[in-house]
């Protein structure tokens, strides 16, 4: 049904009028643009050329890093940098020559920096040199009227206090690499600093804050005449880490002459109270802009000072593994703790002779004493009975063979061998004789110190494996608002009170009973337990390779301990590469750390002969009370 068309002549006429109006308006606009762009174009082009706008970065102060007691570990100090605004340079070659001459830098180096900056927009400065001395700043400032393209910028430089202690846990800052710039998607620019390792890298976004920017107009002498725009910087969060600088200091001092790592951890929460790795490095080297020679010294060092041995190096755990096998076998009723085995000093399995570390043998030993004296023959027999797959099952239940999830990058997962592993990775059958080696923690089983610490925590606190971590709390510098770490854990081996008591008793005997392998390292007045480990690193065939470096033939030394015996609050793991025996090379540091943490004053080291005859420990009760007092709350 068609609607009758109404009379639209009026309407059509008005639409015609509006077409003409619209056409006229568009013509007028076109004329106006023509006037500005063509008639006045040259004038405006000149104005745009004279628009000397500079972008000046307002560096956000990076958050401080403080230890659990509020002691400053990393802070900032002002640094003066030379920048070049190439838009204002009359002749770039002249500018390069001037900078090189004035600062005594190789011209190629300056030119390389300039060329790298040419890709950026013109109003952004090119970083030429950092950390100028005051005298250098004065020399540049004096010549700026002739070289208005240069500017001195004040930035913040990271300063690590405490002589680089805890360097591996803290990490360091250096210039963001092109790859990192891409990864963070435009937040960083060339020349910006970024956390490279440790918590500086793990909590980069928290610590860094957000840089601000000022848009300033400068005159032809490079003087700032006006500010057009300002984006305030957002300061980074302060970070409280779980480290205790005093414990850290003790650990670092111990490792001054040694190679290895130590971890002290609260087994209830996973808080890392100390983490040392040796050899170390001074993170301040990087914020001064590391020189080629320094870099080569660090990377060329055969001991790899940049590596964090506490999480990045996995070694055979040696006899430390025995306590986990003992507990696993006890829980699963696979060993009778009262049954004794005779240790003649060696035993033969599968046609091969395996020695005990004690030449004459330990005689009759039961489970408790086997832990105490670390009898190899006892554990050879236990291991043979369990078989490699059962051993692997127990080791995994304590978190071996997987990363602990600590808040540090590059963590190694270690290795737990099994028959399946041998077939898949080694393409060869598992040899039963290897099981014998693994049962005392030798052979292809590998663990990092932090894994061992978590495993001990899982053992002595019965069941759960706490996730080790360094983050304690972050604090907003403006409001003071804090964010605390939420402790995490994963289930370990089921709790069995009787078995646990037995293993802990054995570990107590290691430290506190004459004949225990770490008897020399007991802490008077404190109930500690532990286990030593001594790992043969080189088979006989490797001896000729080591050549002149006798040190490389020494065994690796382990000690893993905890205190107090009831409700343990501290686990200490010490690993000394080529240190010799666990008892003499590793346990003494644990003793010092326990003593410090629980407020026990240690007498000055007596001569070794007197040590065996030291008076028995006083009742533990007062020491425990002291221990609680010593645990100060967070500031």
């Amino acid at each position: 049904m068609l609607k009758v068309r109404d009379d639209r002549r009026d309407l059509t006429r008005r639409i015609e009028v509006s077409r003409i109006v619209a056409g006229a308006v568009f013509s007028a606009l076109t004329f106006a643009y023509w006037y500005i762009q063509i008639v006045q174009g040259d004038r405006y082009f000149e104005l745009s050329e004279n628009n000397r706008i500079r972008s000046v970065k307002v560096t956000a102060p990076r958050g401080y890093v403080l230890d659990r007691e509020g002691r400053v570990l990393a802070e900032n100090q002002p640094a003066y940098n030379l920048q070049l605004y190439r838009r204002e340079a009359r002749n770039l070659e002249e500018s390069i020559a001037f900078a090189a001459r004035t600062l005594d830098l190789p011209p190629e180096q300056v030119r390389a920096r300039v060329e790298r900056g040419l890709r950026d927009p013109e109003f952004l400065p090119i970083a030429i040199a950092e950390n100028l001395g005051l005298e250098e700043v004065a020399r540049i400032e004096a010549r700026i009227p002739e070289h208005p393209e240069f500017a001195i910028a004040v930035s913040q430089r990271r300063l690590y206090r405490r002589n680089g202690e805890g360097a591996h846990a803290l990490g360091y800052l250096s210039e963001a690499s092109p790859d990192q710039i891409r990864r963070f998607g435009g937040v960083y620019r060339l020349g910006d600093w970024i956390g490279q390792k440790g918590i500086e890298a793990s909590y980069e976004r928290l610590l860094a804050g957000a840089n601000g920017e000022r848009r300033v107009v400068v005159d032809s002498y490079g003087r700032e005449i006006d500010e057009e725009n300002r984006l305030e910087a957002e300061p980074g969060q302060n970070l409280f880490v779980t480290l205790d600088a005093e414990l850290q200091e003790i650990a670092e001092a111990y490792f001054r002459e040694r190679v290895g790592a130590a971890v002290a951890m609260d087994p209830a929460t996973g808080e890392i109270l100390a983490m040392a790795s040796s050899p170390g490095y001074d993170p301040n080297t990087f914020t001064r802009r590391v020189t080629a020679a320094e870099w080569n010294a660090l990377t060329g060092n055969p001991d790899h000072p940049l590596q964090n041995r506490a999480v990045q190096n996995a070694h055979a755990p040696g006899s430390v593994l025995k306590v986990f096998l003992a507990y696993g076998a006890l829980v699963n009723r696979e060993v009778d703790p009262s049954a004794s085995i005779f240790c003649p000093g060696q035993a033969t399995f599968y046609g091969r002779v395996f020695r005990c570390h004690k030449k004459g043998g330990h005689g009759w030993v039961n489970l408790r004493n086997a832990i105490k004296v670390s009898c190899d023959v006892y554990f050879y027999n236990l291991g043979r009975r369990l078989g490699i797959d059962r051993i692997a099952e127990y080791a995994r239940a304590f978190g071996f063979g997987e990363p602990t999830g600590i808040d540090l990058a590059f963590e190694r997962s270690g290795l737990v061998p099994s028959e399946k592993w041998a077939l898949e990775k080694r393409k060869a059958r598992w040899y039963p004789s290897e099981t014998i080696s693994v049962s005392i923690g030798q052979g292809p089983i590998l663990a990092t110190p932090v894994q061992v610490a978590r495993a001990i925590a899982g053992l002595v606190r019965g069941g759960t494996l706490p996730t080790p971590h360094l983050f304690l709390a972050s604090q907003d510098p403006a409001t003071g608002a804090r964010l605390r770490y939420k402790a995490e854990s994963k289930p370990g081996m089921p709790i069995d009170a009787a078995s646990l008591a037995l293993v802990k008793d054995g570990m107590w005997a290691v430290v506190n009973e004459p004949g225990g392998t770490a008897f020399g390292s007991r802490v008077p007045g404190l109930e500690t337990g532990g286990k030593t480990g001594t790992v043969q690193v080189v088979g006989r065939e490797a001896i000729p390779r080591a050549g002149a470096d006798r040190r490389k033939l020494e065994d690796h030394a382990w000690f893993a301990g905890f205190a107090p015996l009831e409700d343990p609050r501290l686990v200490v793991v010490v690993f000394v590469e080529h240190g010799g025996h666990g008892s003499s090379a590793a346990a003494p540091l644990a003793k010092q750390i326990f003593a410090k943490r629980f407020g026990v004053a240690l007498p000055p080291e007596p001569p070794p002969l007197l040590r065996a005859a030291a008076p028995p420990a006083p009742a533990p009760a007062p020491a425990l009370a002291q221990a609680r007092l010593a645990e100060k709350p967070l500031p």
Binding site: I15, F26, F45
Partner: protein, 363 residues
């Protein structure tokens, strides 16, 4: 019967292609204006164009006469978020004109523009006397006045002003006699005198700056001055895509949205401006032709309403770029960065196309 449908339903390629070309130029220059600063903007812009194309398709496919019948409902529904904003809205950039949903922001006023245009068309569907009756005049004033006031109070003068073309459409095409125009002019003069006292300080400042840009060189006159330098320095052929010193200096805080034409003018020169204005002229003049050809009065007024609003935004935006009008925060439709404007402009284009699409169709 079926072949007839194919013959009678037709898309207008001039309108469609001009709109798509403008949107493409927009993405190109949003990329240039935001490079190194907001890396995600071009993608978001493209996404919004996608949303817009869906809205446009809907506008074409749904019979506009059905929409006209429901227009009062749409109109009321579109005003609700505006009322909500006034009561509970949070201020973003000094005005309460955004609703946030998840990561996206939306300006409900943009949708209200389309709803108002629909209701306007419905109002005039049966007004065939050739002159504006007093009752229609009052209804028209109310229809346009309510959303205008709601947006004006946000307070977003620029956005509010985009409703005024609808009033003009009603008055002019509805046939307001000469004495009516004179009366309105008188009322306006009186209101402007009084209105000065009602304006917010920053609005007064902008208007003051407009009349004397050199007085406040680094304040609000700064934008106009910098934008003129950008446009003027582009010359005939421009400095090259992504090569504009003014644009890459990011001298303006909103160069990817309101000031996008300055970026185009700087980097593509007068030729670029000719291209953009030419495309708009083609789109709008063609839309007027379609209006004259529309099957019924509702269709005529629907096209006129949408076209008038587009014309207003294009004119005001390109005039403020070179200091001919004060900076009011009106984006360049289809080209400027901004999701709500993009989506609803395409919806409007869809309605124009829809009217043409059904030109020969029977009810």
């Amino acid at each position: 019967m079926i072949p007839r449908v194919f013959v009678e339903r037709r898309l207008d390629w001039i309108v469609l292609l001009s709109a798509l070309s403008l949107a493409a130029i927009g993405v190109l220059f949003v990329t240039s204006a935001s490079q190194g600063r907001f890396p995600g903007l071009p993608t978001r812009q493209a996404l919004w164009i996608g949303v817009g194309l869906l809205a446009m398709t809907a506008g074409v496919l749904v019979d506009y006469r059905r929409l006209l019948k429901l227009s009062f409902l749409f109109y009321c529904a579109s005003l609700l978020p505006l009322v909500y904003l006034l009561l509970f809205g949070e201020r973003i950039a000094n005005v309460k004109s955004w609703i946030r949903v998840g990561g996206f922001q939306f300006q409900p006023a943009e949708l209200a523009k389309i709803a108002t245009a629909l209701l306007l068309a419905y109002l005039f569907e049966n007004e065939d006397e050739g002159r504006l009756r007093p009752g229609t005049f009052l209804k028209l004033s109310a229809i346009v006045g309510v959303p205008f006031l709601l947006v004006f109070l946000q307070p977003d003068m620029g956005l509010a002003s985009t409703f005024l073309p609808l009033l003009a459409v009603g008055l002019f095409y509805g046939g307001l006699p000469l004495r009516g125009w004179i009366a309105i002019l008188l009322v306006l003069v009186v209101l402007m005198g009084g209105g000065w006292f009602l304006l917010k300080d920053y609005q007064k400042q902008r208007i003051g700056t407009f009349f004397n840009p050199e007085a406040d060189v680094l304040g609000s006159g700064y934008q106009v001055r910098q934008s003129k330098i950008a446009v003027g320095s582009g010359g005939f052929t421009g400095k090259g895509y992504m090569e504009g010193t003014q644009s890459q200096l990011r001298f303006l805080p909103v160069q990817h949205s309101d000031f996008i034409l300055a970026v185009i003018a700087e980097e593509w020169g007068f030729l670029g401006v000719l291209l953009v204005l030419g495309l708009f002229a083609a789109l709008l003049l063609r839309a007027l032709t379609l209006a004259a050809l529309a099957r019924d009065r509702g269709g005529v007024f629907l096209i006129l309403g949408v076209t008038a609003m587009l014309f207003w935004s294009v004119t005001v935006n390109s005039a403020m770029m070179i200091g001919l009008l004060p900076t009011t925060g009106i984006p360049l439709p289809l080209v400027s960065y901004g999701g709500s404007s993009m989506a609803t402009t395409f919806l409007g284009i869809g309605l124009i196309l829809g009217v043409e699409y059904r030109r020969f169709a029977n009810a």
